[in-house]
Structure formats: structure tokens, C-alpha cells
Subunit: 456 residues, 2 copies
């Protein structure tokens, strides 16, 4: 392994959070990086030779030299970079008024009415905050107040955010021996490399088998005095590789959680707002959570996030708790989030995602016939994980090869990232306005890069 590759490996501690690591000798932007380094700390830059992006449009990003990149990574600007209608909504409202929500304003009310229409009937109460982390904090706070318990069942390898509480719920981010007793983690339903595999034995039992793993977690919380407040799960399993859970997995888990007196919380920061081909990721599994929260894509880039729950839960919670968020749901934030919902509707983004997602997967399957390293293709809509293997039989993760792909793809004009506990899953998670042409460019680059890396 070359020194360059070694430094790449060292810096790829968490597949879903960071990859790359710049090389001071070869980067083209050393002056800017050195100005940045003077004032920054612990802050990652993507890529060996970090990109200096100055402009965006649709699913394309442009660097300072005018080079165009196909963006197969960014899920915040999911209605397209610099989307004119969202930018216009932000600009127009910013020139008129922006205050907190303790004065009446129509924007936040109209946002609540519009977003409630995207949710199952009972989920009609909205609480607006700024970020996914704040939303997860509030969701957990509501669950704790309402159940009187403090424990959470989460996935192994989960990522929910960056505060103390939400960081502890993010089992991917710290060693297992530091896990506090109120956190119990279960194995995610990875039917390609988990404890129970598709195609081995009775596939109809897979959902049940993975769901049953929740039983000892709940028992542990009941045994250690924490009690079960909530089951919290990202419905696209972003940090676990973008998994397809068995179709009955969530139904069975939700039953167990409710039977134990807990609430079911869907983390829709990744899967929400049309990403999977349904407006919310949980719709893929035909369940209705008790609490839903979202973040990143909700404001198209404006920091606005939300928690949704039922009137019964909200009223029970509000009896003994109050919550206020300075920026949450302010007139500009609400204008941005409304513009996202309007754009999605007016441009049939759900249909577009399903259609381009299918196109992406079918073309990935064609590539898989050519490249043995493609072990498994998983995910939904425009959130697709490609699990790369050294050997299709042993399914040994091709982590070293995977780590080289983002830089190599960047050289071909495509921005893409990695995910999964082994850092070996390539994550196709573009802005939702991604086109078939964008797929073609991305997969041509992937084909070329795999050919170079596999056979050198």
C-alpha cells in the first residue's frame, strides 16, 4: 500500500462521516486550506485534493476552475442545488420579516397544514426546530415524558446526531464499552451480511428473526431500571449501508415496542421528504410511527427540522413540559420548507425518484455482471448502497478498495461517499432531481474506476 493510500485509510474512521484526507503535497487548493486550517480544528475536508465548490445547479456542482461534477452525495439540497424557487422563497421572506414563533405568522401555520397532509392522519402535531440533532433530542424528550421511562432501543452502527444525548444514541460514533445503560442496541436487519441471510433457509422468517432481537434489548432496559421510552430507527439505515429491511420487520418491532409501553420513533432525516420514493421512509414498511422527525432535506439547505406526533402524545407531553426554539419554524424557515414541499409536488418528485431509482438499480445490476466486487445492491428510491466485496462467496468487505473510490470517482467528475460499519458500501444518494443522464455519467465513472482498481 502506498503512503497515499495509508493516509487515506487512517483518516477513514467512520465510513458515513468522513473519508479522504487531504495531501498537502498534491492538493491544488493549499492556500485556501492553510487559511482554513488557521481557524479550524477537528474539521474534515473530503478528498485527497479537496474540492473548492463555488456554484451549484440541479444535481451538478462546479468548482473554482469551472469544472462540473455530478453530485451523487448531497441529500440536503434534495430539490437541487440553488433551487430557484426555494432561494426565491428564502430571499422574499428575508426582506420582509423573520422572527420567532411567539408572534402569530401565517407561514409556520401553512407549513404545518401542508406537511401534515403528507403524514398519516394521526400525526398532525408539528414542532419545528433547526437541525436533525435538535429534532432527535425533542423526539426523545417527548417519549421520555410520555412513557415515564428513559431507555432507548437503537441500531448497532446508528447515527442520529451530535449532542450529548443524541451522540449516545449514535452507536456508530463511540466504543461499545462506553455505552450508557439507557442505550440498548440491536443488530440491524442486514439480510446480506447479518446473522440471518436472504436465501439461506426460510426467507419469510427473516423479518421475525431480526425483530426478535429487540426482545432482549427491551428486557435489558426493563431489568436495569431504565424502562423502554422508545425504539428509534432511521428507516433507510443510512449508516448501516442503506439497507432494505424485510417487509414485516418494522410491523413486528413496533408491536413489541408498543407491548412494552414504548413509543416508536422514525428518524426521517435521511429517508424523509421523498428520498425513498414515498414521502416518508416508514411508508415503505406500511407502519405508522408514534413520533417522526426529520432534518437535512426539510428546508432544502435552510436549517429547519421538525418533529411530528399525535395530538394524544403531544397533549400528554405538554401537560408537564414546555419547549421553545428561537429559530425553529421562523417565517423564513417556514417559507423554505414550504417551497421544498411545493417543488416536490409540482415536479412529481416522488414519481421521478421511483423512476430514476429503478433506472439506477437496473444499471447497477448490469455493472454487477461485469464487476465481481459488487456484492450486493440495496436501498430504496434514490438511496442505494452498493456493498463491495473481495469475494462474492465469503462476502469479505472490500474496504481498502472502497476507500479509494471517492477520490477516483472525483477525478472522473462524480462526487460520491461511503457508508456502512465496514466502510465498504458506496452510497448513491444524490439530490432527488438526479436524471438518467446523471446516472449514466455516474455509472460510466464507476465502471471505469472499478476496472482500474480491481485489476491493477
Amino acid at each position: 500500500m502506498s503512503d497515499k493510500n495509508k493516509s487515506l485509510k487512517n483518516s477513514a474512521a467512520l465510513g458515513h462521516i468522513k473519508f479522504g484526507g487531504y495531501d498537502p503535497e498534491t492538493t491544488q487548493n493549499i492556500e485556501l486550506i492553510e487559511r482554513r486550517n488557521k481557524h479550524f480544528a477537528g474539521s474534515m475536508l473530503f478528498y485527497h485534493d479537496p474540492v473548492h465548490i463555488v456554484r451549484g445547479e440541479g444535481a451538478r456542482l462546479y468548482d473554482d476552475k469551472g469544472r462540473c461534477y455530478v453530485d451523487c452525495y448531497n441529500n440536503v439540497q434534495s430539490m437541487g442545488h440553488a433551487n430557484p424557487s426555494i432561494a426565491r422563497a428564502i430571499a422574499d421572506q428575508s426582506t420582509v420579516l423573520n422572527t420567532h414563533t411567539r408572534y402569530l405568522h401565517e407561514n409556520v401555520i401553512e407549513l404545518a397544514e401542508e406537511v401534515a397532509k403528507t403524514l398519516p392522519g394521526d400525526l398532525e402535531v408539528c414542532l419545528f426546530v433547526c437541525t436533525g440533532t435538535e429534532a432527535c433530542e425533542l423526539a426523545m424528550r417527548i417519549a421520555r415524558v410520555v412513557t415515564g421511562n428513559s431507555g432507548a432501543v437503537v441500531m448497532e452502527g446508528s447515527y442520529h446526531g451530535n449532542s450529548k444525548l443524541v451522540g449516545e444514541m449514535s452507536t456508530a460514533t463511540y466504543p461499545k464499552e462506553k455505552r450508557p445503560p439507557y442505550i440498548q442496541a440491536v443488530e440491524p436487519p442486514n439480510t446480506y451480511r447479518g446473522s440471518f441471510l436472504e436465501g439461506e433457509g426460510d426467507d419469510e422468517q427473516l423479518g421475525q428473526r431480526y425483530a426478535d432481537l429487540v426482545d432482549p434489548a427491551i428486557e435489558a432496559l426493563e431489568g436495569n431500571g431504565e424502562g423502554l421510552a422508545a425504539f428509534v430507527c432511521d428507516t433507510i439505515f443510512d449508516s448501516q449501508g442503506a439497507l432494505d429491511a424485510p417487509g414485516d420487520y418494522f410491523t413486528r418491532v413496533y408491536e413489541k415496542v408498543h407491548a412494552a409501553g414504548g413509543l416508536c420513533i422514525a428518524d426521517e432525516v435521511q429517508a424523509g421528504v421523498c428520498r425513498t420514493g414515498t414521502f416518508w421512509g416508514f411508508e415503505q414498511y406500511d407502519v405508522v410511527p408514534d413520533i417522526v422527525f426529520t432534518g437535512k432535506p426539510f428546508g432544502g439547505g435552510y436549517p429547519v427540522a421538525a418533529v411530528f406526533t399525535t395530538r394524544a402524545i403531544a397533549d400528554e407531553w405538554a401537560r408537564s413540559d414546555i419547549y421553545f426554539n428561537t429559530f425553529g419554524g421562523n417565517p423564513v424557515a417556514a417559507a423554505a420548507a414550504r417551497a421544498v414541499i411545493h417543488y416536490a409536488k409540482e415536479h412529481n418528485i416522488l414519481e421521478h425518484v421511483s423512476s430514476v431509482g429503478e433506472y439506477l438499480v437496473s444499471h447497477l445490476r448490469q455493472l454487477a455482471q461485469k464487476h465481481e466486487v459488487i456484492g450486493h445492491i440495496q436501498g430504496r428510491g434514490l438511496f442505494v448502497g452498493v456493498d463491495l466485496v473481495r469475494d462474492r462467496k465469503t462476502r469479505e468487505p472490500a474496504a481498502e478498495l472502497a476507500r479509494l473510490i471517492p477520490d477516483a470517482m472525483k477525478a472522473e467528475g462524480v462526487l460520491i461517499g461511503l457508508t456502512g460499519p465496514n466502510g465498504n458500501c458506496l452510497k448513491f444518494r444524490p439530490p432527488l432531481v438526479f436524471t438518467e443522464e446523471d446516472v449514466d455519467i455516474t455509472l460510466a465513472a464507476f465502471d471505469k474506476v472499478l476496472a482500474e482498481l480491481e485489476y491493477r
Copy 2:
């Protein structure tokens, strides 16, 4: 007490967080409120008859009927409502690009360079987040990693934010018996109604006496195994009534904290960005904190916040921790924060704040000659608290009268709030572009309202 006043009292649980409570029978905006209630929970509206604000300009807000209010409350849009240069910066950048900070972008680097110039030399490392809560979370996280301890010394009656951790650091928001052992609270240095009073005994000893209260708090943390990670204090003591600490208070406390191996964290969400007449509130006390964080006014309404620390602390922290914030310091956030700093410089906001602040205080002192209920005038720059008393000798808080003032002032065209543990401090905390004319209107209303409330 009338039923109306009773309902006001019941809803004024936390002086600094909420006041008012709408009356469904008399409000003019019942249709909008009922639409709002259908989708909201536990979310306060200010005022008996909540205002429906549709437009802002400078320190003036306008309701849906075109009525103009002088804004003596809002500290987020501190460079004025709908400030055209800030709105323009947000609009221009939104139409070009908005992504995370793992690609290079000049805005966030230039913001870091510009904001570092406002800080003492060593505080050169910047970490950008979205909200004051996220900033306080990160400040505390850094302090814990660097010191290896977990405890915090905070003020009684403090407010720092709304996450689990920061909520626990906010002693104003929950009963003392629920305080976790890692939180030790000390009496704030209120020289008008605290344990040690100005004008009683040796005033030169006041700073020392209040600072000495930190000793047992540190000892408690050392005794219970938590250890001292940080002393965290809002340098304008917003939630305690907007206090003037004795001039040597912070110097003496910082010495004790450092001697015990802890870090000194200044919460500049309220006092920062020119509010007190210096760029940062801690400058009023001639100290240099180890970590500074700000929020609300930093982006002029855009959700952007920041933590500042020294290179030594940042590097020590980054050795074992990484942090990433999706929206923090993105190109639009950075453009907004830069526009705030530019506006403040170009319009000599610091001088303006000092000058109008003095004008406000001198005219409040004149009113105090007329109204016995004005017990004490405290604070700095354009953050002034007026402690209202039933009797100047006993200093009994005039809490019931105070609770009626915001609604009465609103009827006179002035928006203003309350603060302090007794809810009896009127809080003059306008946008920093507040003019002498705005002061005149505000104090004419205050004069009239006091005359009506005192003598009826």
C-alpha cells in the same frame, strides 16, 4: 385579581421564557390561532391578544392591520428587522450555492478570519453550528474532553438552551431536586437583591464575596467524583434580570476555576455581537474566557451559531474527538454572519449602542424619580433590566404588576418582555439599531402604563 389576571399569572412560569397567554374571548386573531392550535402543542404565544406581525424594519414591527410597534424585545435581528444588507447576502448566496463545510468554500474561511479579529488573540479557532443550544453542547463537550472532568458550575436561575445536557445546565427550567450531581449552581452576583448588597458594608469586597461562592461548588464537584470541567456563565445574566456583576467578579471566579483545572466558558448568546457596547460581553469585565459561544444575533436571524476557543484547547480536543454539523457554517450561514459583522462595523453599532444605551438609562433614571415601583436599573449597553418593587425599602418584587406590563405596553405600541427569577424585571433588549426616538416612545408608554397600573 380578575380571571384575566389569574390566567396571565398561571402562564408566566418562567419570566425569561414566557409571558402572556391568549384570551380566546377577546383576541382579534382567533381564526389564525385556532388554525395554529390544530397543529401545535406546548407552544406559547405572547400576549393576551397575540400579535400577528407581518413586516419589520429597523426596530419597528408591523401587524396585519398596519399598526406599528416599537420593538424593545427582539435580540436576534439585532442589526434591525429585515436588514437589507443581511437579506441581500442570504439571497445572493442562496441562489448560487449552499452545501456543507467538507468542501472548501471561501465564505466560512472569511467569516472565521473576520470574527477572529473581534476576539482576543488566543481565541482564534472557530467551530460553526446552528443554534445557541448546539454551541453550548459543543463548548461543554470540548471542556469535558480537555479536562477529563464532567462537572459544570453554572448560575442559579440560568438559561443556556433546550437539549438534554444544556437543559440540565439551565437551572431556571426545572426543580432543584432534579438537578444532576454534575451540575453545581451558585448565586448570581445580584448586588441589588442577592446575599451581598451594594451600599451595605464594603462595596469593594462585593466581587470577592460573590466569587467565593464558587469555592463550595467546585469542592462539591471534586467531592462527588464529577470534577470541574467548566464554569459556564451568560455575561449579561439575562435570565437573572440582566445584572451588572461587580467589576472584579469574573476575574476572581476565573482564577478559582483555572486553579481547580477547569475551563471558563462565556455564554455570549445574549451579550455577544455588540449588545453590551463591546463586541463581546466578557470584554466588559476585562477577562478572556477559554471558550466563548454565541448564537441568536450572530446571523441576524439566520440559524448560525459558533464556538470559539484557543488553538491549544482545540488541538487537545481534536486529538480524541471529531465533530461535524451539517448546516453549521454553510455558505449561506457564513454570508449571513459576515453581513452582520460588516453592518455592525460600517454603521458603528458599538458606539451607537453605548450612546443610545446611556440615553435609555438616563431617561429611565428620570422615570424612577416619578415611579416608586422602579427599584433598580441594571445591565449594560442595550440590555437593561428594570427591577420593579412593591416597596423600595423592602425591595419586595412587584411581580403581579410586572406581569401586566407587556400587554399594557403592547396596547401602547411597544413590544417588551420580562425576566428574572421573580418575573419582576422589565427587559429592555431591543434590536441594536434602536434610536433615541424609539427610546422616547418606549419610555412614554412605560410612564403611562406605570401610572395606570400603580395607582388604580
